[in-house]
């Protein structure tokens, strides 16, 4: 096997200057929350380590993860990261198509057996032997399993690959299934969101490429550095939450004043993501800043958890739908009335008591 190129060599070949390279290293250190003393370490790693190829597969999806990724705020990061991965296989971004493209996949898998990273966008539908998503004439689930077999690690991009997302919404007719339920024997890094934030995506992939290890994950398999706080913890409307100032309807005075969106169903208090710190589109805004509550797009099952405009889901059953409080109050009313009747009967029986039996 020929000597493998280093990251630095790939970048230079792609026309990236030394100066940009050093800038990129300091940006990366900053994005990962590392101190300046890490910059030489990152540079050294990039100069000496053979490049790790990334294969990027697409299943049942809307491609919003790719859309987000290529809009990474800093063009340099995007260029560098893309130059590192787009060389290989990403059927929406690469130039080649058809048999030629599929051949590249086989070639990389062969050449870098056990050494490449598999990034999955979208998920495999399992019903009807997987025929709801066909890539190169074969079910996506086959391709996924085949490429996963010799991968070093897998990145599940977005809520589709991580949790199933909209195509897995009840009753999930195609049996769209998240990656970790299909590939059971590989380390999987979940980067949920619909889509995930560009800076989070590039941050995760840069970390894995430069440090050659998986970032620290939480219980659900998400990188802690981006998913350890809720939207609510860093939301700039939080002072209004604590004060008790809420938007009660989307056209009221509170909405105009930018009060907290808790009462109109904001899922910020239950959503782990970096939106309220990183924001979107070069830090321009994020949903709450634009006046709409968080819908919890990076949480498992967000598509099936009731209204986006109510805090908690309704209780359904017996042909009715009502909030937990409505049900509770009704139950309390029924029990109260029952007890009142019971008390009345008890009192009537008691009235005949002369105090002499027991």
């Amino acid at each position: 096997m020929a000597a493998l190129e280093t990251f630095y060599e790939v970048m230079r070949r792609q026309g990236i200057t030394r100066r940009s390279f050093v800038k990129y290293c300091s940006l990366t250190a900053a994005a990962l929350g590392l101190g300046p003393e890490f910059i030489p370490q990152i540079a050294h790693a990039m100069e000496t380590k053979p490049r790790t190829p990334v294969l990027w597969l697409h299943g049942l999806e809307c491609t919003c993860c790719s859309e987000s990724f290529i809009r990474s705020a800093h063009p340099l990061v995007k260029d560098v990261v893309l130059s590192m991965i787009s060389l290989d296989y990403d059927d929406t971004l690469m130039a080649s198509a058809g048999h030629q493209a599929e051949a590249i996949l086989d070639e990389v898998m062969e050449k870098y057996r056990g050494n490449y990273i598999l990034a999955v966008e979208g998920n495999p539908p399992l019903n009807e032997d997987g025929m709801y998503c066909i890539i190169g004439g074969r079910p996506f689930v086959d391709q996924l399993k085949r490429v996963a077999k010799d991968a070093k690690a897998i990145i599940s991009w977005g809520s589709c690959a991580s949790y199933g997302c909209v195509q897995a919404a009840a009753p999930n007719p195609t049996a769209a299934t998240p990656v970790h339920k299909v590939v059971l024997d590989k380390p999987i890094i979940k980067v949920p969101g619909c889509p995930p934030i560009a800076e989070v995506m590039t941050g995760v992939i840069t970390y894995m490429l430069t440090f050659d290890r998986i970032p620290e994950l939480d219980r659900q398999g998400r990188p802690k550095m981006f998913y350890s706080q809720r939207i609510h913890d860093k939301c700039y409307r939080r002072p209004h939450f604590d004060a008790g100032q809420y938007v009660e309807a989307f056209d009221d005075e509170g909405a105009r004043k930018g009060y907290c969106l808790y009462k109109v169903g904001c899922k910020g208090p239950t959503t782990y993501n970096a939106c309220s710190t990183t924001r979107w589109n070069d830090g321009v805004s994020f949903p709450i800043q634009s006046g709409h509550g968080c819908i919890g797009c990076s949480e498992d099952g967000f598509w099936d958890k009731g209204s986006w405009y109510a805090r908690l889901k309704d209780v359904s059953g017996f042909g009715i739908e009502a909030s937990a409080d409505r049900i509770g109050m009704t139950a309390a009313g029924v029990v109260g009335a029952g007890l009142a009747v019971h008390a009345a009967i008890s009192a009537l029986k008691r009235a005949r008591y002369k105090g002499d039996d027991v």
């Binding site: 004060a243 008790g244 009660e248 889901k313 002499d356």
Partner: protein, 254 residues
């Protein structure tokens, strides 16, 4: 007439030599009672602290789910939700530490201090007593047998609706608490696993909320039944939870 009265009902002559001498026994419903010490001081202290904590938890918990209407003025002038949550967490700590203390006391207290933590389903007598108690509440039977601790129906209800639900509230509550303190906090390590089990963070809020209604229904029924039993059963209840002594109104065998 007097001869047909049960032995524990006193007659005029029984009052001779007591502070009631000279009074009529019948209108006083004078009777001989047996009194037993059931609920030791730690149990009583715990019962009322716990009841107080639950009232605060239910009110503040309800308000966390459905906050009062928006306050006018600058945000810096208010801390309404902040206080509501603060009170909820303060009461939650009292509730949780109290629960732990109550568990510890079960090892040191009398046998009645342990009734809170199990239901003797393996005993035939338990099921018989449970059925009997149901018949009394259905007005089929007039009197149940006497109990020194909880009656079978009470023990079952308290175990299901208080002990288990209370544990559930502590587990889900501290799991939610770890949203604020982080998954690496002790709350996150000890209780964080609860959330994925219940279907995620939002679902944990939901079930924590439902748990509140279970406890509220329990309290409504509990207060009704202890009051009713205190008035018309063969033993006293409320005073037993205040001073520890339970009086039996008759001495007949069951």
């Amino acid at each position: 007439m007097a001869a047909s009265k049960p032995a524990h009902m006193l007659r005029d002559e029984d009052l001779v030599g007591t502070n009631l001498e000279g009074l009529k026994a019948a209108p006083l419903r004078a009777r001989r009672v047996t009194s037993v010490y059931v609920y030791e001081a730690p149990v009583r202290l715990w019962h009322w602290t716990n009841a107080g904590a639950i009232v605060v938890l239910a009110i503040t918990g309800f308000l966390i789910g459905a906050p009062p209407s928006t306050l006018a003025g600058e945000a810096s002038a208010h801390f309404q939700m902040g206080w509501i949550r603060y009170l909820h967490f303060a009461a939650a700590w009292i509730f949780a530490v109290g629960f732990l203390g109550r568990v510890i006391w079960a090892f040191f207290g009398n046998i009645y201090s342990r009734e809170l933590f199990y239901v003797p389903v393996w005993k035939l007598s338990f099921w018989r007593e449970l059925w009997e108690e149901v018949l009394v509440y259905a007005f089929v039977k007039k009197y149940a047998r006497k109990f020194i601790g909880h009656n079978a129906l009470a023990q079952l209800t308290i175990f299901l609706c208080f002990t288990l639900t209370g544990l559930f509230m502590i587990a889900t509550g501290f799991a939610l608490y770890s949203d604020g303190t982080g998954i690496d906090s002790w709350e996150g390590r000890l209780f964080g696993w609860v959330m994925p089990l219940l279907g995620g963070n939002l679902a944990t809020h939901f079930w924590h909320h439902i748990g509140m209604w279970v406890i509220i229904l329990f309290v409504i029924i509990h207060v009704y039944t202890v009051t009713r039993e205190d008035i018309s059963s063969r033993q006293t209840l409320i005073s037993a939870m205040i001073n520890g002594y339970r009086n039996f109104r008759d001495d007949s065998r069951d």
